[in-house]
Symmetry: C2
Subunit: 151 residues, 2 copies
């Protein structure tokens, strides 16, 4: 197997695994009436208290997309808009208790849903797989400088 072939096989595996994981996340989200993006928002808000624009950047979405997204989640009581004292233009987004509770449940659901898959590896293999994924993940890829596109 050449170096290029190993890269091809790896990319194939990564892409396939991505689709499978997204399928699981989509299903779990749907069971709680959450889109993939809303699921992700809750995950982020678990650890952070970003402003709207931060959230948009983290998700790779337009600001205007966030408005509606946050509207709907706020209406459901999962998060709240909060005025920023240092800058009156800024809107901070904060998770609510109900949102945190749901996020925890979702996290457990994901763990459980993936258990049959991760369980096919023993503990040392799991550790090794996680370690091998690390360098692939950092730094983030989504911000890769776009190659020049004509048009």
């Amino acid at each position: 197997m050449t170096s290029e072939e190993s890269a091809d096989a790896l990319v194939d595996g990564l892409v396939r695994s991505a689709f499978q994981i997204m399928g699981v996340l989509t299903r779990i989200g749907a069971e709680h009436d959450l889109s993939l993006t809303q699921l992700r928002v809750l995950g982020i808000l678990r650890d952070q208290r970003p402003r709207m624009s931060d959230l948009a950047a983290l998700l790779g979405l337009d600001k205007s997309t966030l408005s509606g997204l946050i509207d709907r989640a706020e209406r459901r009581g999962l998060l709240a808009r909060s005025a920023n004292p240092d800058d009156k233009r800024v809107v901070d987004v904060v998770i609510t208790d109900a949102g945190r509770e749901l996020a925890g449940r979702l996290y457990q659901d994901v763990q459980n849903a993936l258990a049959p898959a991760t369980g096919r590896l023993d503990a040392p293999q799991r550790r090794q797989l996680a370690e091998l994924l690390e360098p692939v993940l950092t730094p983030p890829l989504t911000l890769t400088p776009r190659p020049a596109v004509q048009g």
Copy 2:
């Protein structure tokens, strides 16, 4: 690190990698005016000639979603509907030359976009990562039997 912790860390890594990969695929698709789903359709049609219902099952989508999806791709000349001689109800979906060409370009773009990430591993590590992903991926997870949901 306990066995549960290694599972947690692995799931985290898999989920994060999934979001990163999807981000890359979304960006590359967008550069060619293709949604993630259309990207996936082209990928499938590269190797298969499924009927509408097969495609819906492969993608985990409703049949009615496929109609519009295939409509738009067909209008762009990327694929074509083809009557099935054995069953007049059935519509086979076939990729066109233009579609195959685009699919090849997309595949290369993905390889290139992920090269900086996979390149952080040397060839033996890449091989090992691909091998460790294999058991996690098979059999497919998306068809995991849904746990009973009340309501």
